[in-house]
């Protein structure tokens, strides 16, 4: 079964961007929001940006198109979290020094998911987010195992596995 530690979302967003926007530049893992002016004055732009990096939220990718800036967040697990983050990320774009030259462009928000459902679509419409389903075959396995996780069969199988581990003293 696929595990979170396999960096599934990193691969997913990289493949999605290559397939969907091959002709446009994009930035992976772009920090968003303000860098304090005082810090920039004291340390210089580069050092201030570097120092504040761990404290700034990070969007999975920003695609720079001639007519729009696209914020992309990809989610396999916790897809509603991804949806909820995008409007908040959008609010930070005008304050992001790295994106200063693109601030006149309209911002489009895209949530990339392995599967969707009607409630997600309703929430996304309300939040002004476009949902893109991207599910190459390797990701299908991950999505399927995620859906199976909540089934009775899988629960029984899991409990049996845990019982055997305990019986044999396996960590």
């Amino acid at each position: 079964m696929a595990q979170k530690s396999r960096q599934v979302e990193v691969r997913m967003v990289a493949e999605y961007l290559k397939e969907t926007y091959p002709q446009y530049p994009f930035i992976n893992k772009q920090p968003l929001g303000k860098v304090p002016e005082e810090l920039m004055t004291a340390l210089g732009y580069k050092r201030a940006v570097g120092m504040t990096r761990p404290f700034r939220p990070e969007v999975d990718a920003v695609v720079i198109m001639p007519g729009a800036l696209i914020l992309v967040e990809a989610k396999v697990w916790n897809i509603v979290n991804g949806l909820a983050k995008l409007p908040l990320y959008k609010s930070l774009v005008p304050f992001t020094p790295e994106l200063k030259e693109y601030q006149k462009l309209p911002i489009v928000m895209e949530l990339v998911v392995g599967w969707t459902n009607p409630n997600l679509e309703i929430m996304a419409r309300d939040a002004g987010v476009t949902v893109r389903v991207f599910c190459p075959s390797w990701l299908g396995e991950v999505v399927e195992s995620q859906h199976r996780y909540w089934t009775r069969e899988y629960r029984v199988e899991r409990e049996e596995k845990l019982r055997m581990r305990e019986l044999f003293g396996v960590e």
């Binding site: 396999r6 960096q7 990193v10 691969r11 990289a14 493949e15 961007l17 290559k18 397939e19 091959p22 002709q23 446009y24 530049p25 994009f26 930035i27 992976n28 893992k29 772009q30 920090p31 580069k46 050092r47 940006v49 570097g50 990096r53 761990p54 990070e58």
Partner: protein, 105 residues
């Protein structure tokens, strides 16, 4: 032509690179946590341009989350059609890499 064996990134300083080829090598390294030898796959790119200068160098990636940013470009070696600006941030387990992908025109 600048002769540099390996591209070493400094935290917070972006490097613009162009890759011409890659291999995945199996290497034995010392685990910083346990101090024991461990065997890992390493993605190694051949670099011919670094910040606009001609070089003959390698860029070596051990972290799966960083290698994953290049995974769609490996099979068909389509990274040859792009420049990448890589910025490393943080240290140890908290290291992250921001990668800007720029199609070559």
């Amino acid at each position: 032509m600048v002769l540099e064996n390996y591209v070493i990134l400094q935290a917070g300083i972006p490097a613009r690179v162009h890759f011409t080829d890659h291999v995945i090598e199996r290497r034995t390294t010392t685990d910083p946590g346990t101090g024991r030898p461990t065997s890992r796959n390493v993605l190694v790119f051949e670099v011919d341009k670094l910040n606009g200068k001609d070089v003959f160098a390698k860029y070596s990636i051990m972290a799966e989350k960083h290698a994953g940013q290049f995974s769609p470009y490996l099979e068909d070696k389509s990274y040859r059609g792009y420049d990448f600006i890589i910025t490393k941030q943080g240290e140890g387990y908290l290291t992250s890499w921001s990668v800007t992908v720029i199609p070559k025109t």
